[in-house]
């Protein structure tokens, strides 16, 4: 039987909760009311549970936490962190690991966004978890919000791991502007979370989502300057890279880390991605 669930998500109705339970006036314009006394409590509980669920799944831990550190190790052993010499014209004039540390923070944000989120969201949708949540009137903004919050927390942990590893073993310098780096990281995470949510909304099954996520992950990993520096990429590679969100994430975080500047072009592209993908996913995401 063709299934037609009622719930298109309505981003406009998400928001803080009124203080009272029981009968309350209908919301303006007759929109379904989704806020209620337990809304934020449920959001935080769900986020906490999501974080625990993440820790119980070895594959995601490997991709999010171990893989970037392993790649950093390989790059560090190959290129070291001494500026100049053969590295002079390659790593923007700085040490290789000074170049890679911020780039891999962007990679962590991407990995959480395009690998973890779509797999989780499609699984919930196709497997009946969303049905279960919805039947108990768990607000959908709490379901999606908890995923994004959990992704942000995991991204922070993964980034700290990458940065600490680079600092301890390859003496990477301290970020020139920690504030801009943090702001850039949040923006980067938001853009990739929006992409991941959109993938989770359009992919039919967890397997499809995982396949698409992994493909995006590796294409971006190699063509956005995060692994192969822009300076040694062919024109074609650079042109492809111009269309990849990670390129802008890498630019933004590298500018903040080395130089302490804010790359407005990159920031605007990422804000655009976050808004467009976020809006589309909220339009498309349906209850199971």
């Amino acid at each position: 039987m063709t299934d037609e669930a009622t719930g298109r998500t309505a981003p406009a109705t998400a928001g803080p909760a009124p203080a009272t339970a029981g009968p309350a006036p209908a919301s303006p314009a007759g929109r379904p009311r989704v806020s209620h006394p337990g809304g934020l409590k449920v959001l935080f509980k769900l986020t906490w549970i999501e974080l625990k669920l993440f820790l119980r799944e070895p594959t995601t831990i490997v991709f999010t936490f171990a893989f970037p550190v392993v790649l950093m190790f390989v790059l560090g052993e190959v290129f070291g962190n001494q500026p100049g010499g053969s590295n002079e014209r390659v790593f923007a004039g700085t040490g290789a690991m000074n170049y890679y540390a911020p780039a891999y923070i962007a990679v962590v944000a991407m990995s959480v966004g395009v690998i973890m989120l779509p797999a989780r969201l499609t699984d919930y949708r196709s497997g009946g978890v969303l049905r279960r949540f919805r039947a108990s009137l768990v607000p959908i903004w709490a379901v999606l919000g908890s995923q994004v919050l959990a992704a942000l927390v995991l991204g922070v942990i993964g980034s700290v791991l990458v940065a600490a590893f680079a600092a301890i073993f390859y003496s990477v310098h301290f970020p020139d502007s920690l504030a801009l780096l943090a702001a850039g990281f949040v923006l980067c995470s938001a853009a990739f979370a929006a992409i991941g949510t959109l993938l989770g909304a359009v992919m039919p099954s967890p397997r499809a989502a995982q396949g698409a996520g992994l493909m995006l992950f590796f294409v971006m990993l190699f063509l956005s300057g995060a692994s192969v520096p822009m300076e040694v990429m062919s024109n074609t590679m650079v042109k492809i890279g111009d269309f990849l969100p990670l390129t802008y994430g890498v630019d933004l975080l590298q500018a903040a880390w080395s130089g302490g500047t804010w790359d407005w072009t990159a920031a605007i592209v990422l804000i655009g991605i976050a808004i467009v993908a976020g809006f589309l996913s909220l339009r498309v995401y349906r209850w199971g």
Binding site: A5, S35, K41, I49, R56, R132
Partner: protein
């Protein structure tokens, strides 16, 4: 007192013009166990999903506790509890985490620890959802349905997949839910379950309610014949046709079956005593809901 649920001319058409629910009307009173009885595909589940606000009806009106479940979902949060067919929790979510999460949806503090005990899940509180058996998952879902102390609970085919012993336990538990004042809507295709539990039953067939009454009322109205059965060696049985109320007399091996109305058992017994016939295991078989269902729909429920 206004009814807890009012459904008037509910209609639900899916895409491709599949009519799941054609025209369904019923009311559920406070404190009763109301059964939606029908074969698979009759439209029961779609009906309750519309009542729960999970689907938007194509036509008709639905009111739960006076509210429209689709447009005033927020007002009903915590006041309705549902145990769903074909739903799941994340594999690695633990039993206590699920209860704690769903308890957070209800206003006020909820003592979900007692639910763990009541539903035999105390030993499984740290088990992952993926590691629960079918029966344990069912009980967890019922506990989740009850965690917000709802005024009305929907149970959809909840004993499907349970072994007979677990079914009996589930039945007792459903009666306990009703006894604490919660209205129960029970969706089932098991006749014995509906007969045993329901205060009132709506028989659903091909997207319509074809009869609604107490199980006893349905039997009296649609299939009033009862059977008196006994074991007797006598060769001649035709005289039993003259017993008041008897409609037919048949022999099935060593057993004689008299079908008819009225206090048939007393009349047959008296006639046997009069003739001085010693008969073993004289008893009455009352018509069941299953017979009514067959009479009403003309097909077996498993069809």
């Amino acid at each position: 007192m206004p009814p807890v649920i009012t459904v008037e001319h509910l209609r639900k058409v899916y895409s491709h013009h599949v009519v799941a629910v054609d025209d369904v009307s019923f009311e559920v009173e406070k404190g009763e166990i109301f059964g939606l009885l029908g074969s698979n595909g009759a439209g029961k589940t779609t009906t309750v999903e519309c009542v729960q606000g999970l689907r938007t009806p194509t036509g008709g009106t639905v009111r739960v506790l006076g509210k429209d479940p689709v447009h005033h979902a927020g007002d009903l949060r915590g006041r309705m509890g549902c145990q769903l067919q074909e739903s799941r929790l994340p594999d690695h979510m633990k039993v206590w985490e699920a209860l704690d999460l769903f308890a957070a949806l209800a206003p006020g503090i909820v003592e979900w620890q007692t639910l763990l005990e009541q539903w035999g899940l105390a030993e499984k509180r740290n088990a992952s959802f993926a590691n629960l058996s079918g029966g344990q998952r069912q009980r967890l879902f019922i506990a989740l349905a009850l965690v917000s102390s709802p005024e009305v609970v929907f149970l959809d085919e909840m004993t499907t997949g349970l072994d007979p012993a677990a079914r009996r336990i589930a039945w007792d538990l459903i009666e306990k839910i009703r006894d604490r004042g919660t209205t129960v809507v029970l969706v089932t295709h098991f006749m014995d379950e509906a007969e045993r539990l329901c205060d009132r039953v709506a028989v659903v067939d091909k997207g319509r309610v074809i009869a609604a009454d107490t199980p006893r009322g349905l039997v009296v109205r649609y299939d009033p014949l009862e059977q008196v059965v006994f074991t007797c060696e006598m060769p001649e049985i035709a005289w039993l046709n003259d017993v008041p109320g008897a409609r037919s007399v048949t022999r099935r091996g060593p057993r004689v079956v008299v079908e008819g109305t009225g206090p048939l058992l007393a009349h047959v017994g008296a006639a046997l005593v009069q003739r001085d016939l010693a008969c073993e295991d004289l008893r009455v078989i009352e018509p069941s809901l299953e017979d009514v269902f067959l009479t009403l729909t003309g097909h077996l429920v498993e069809d």
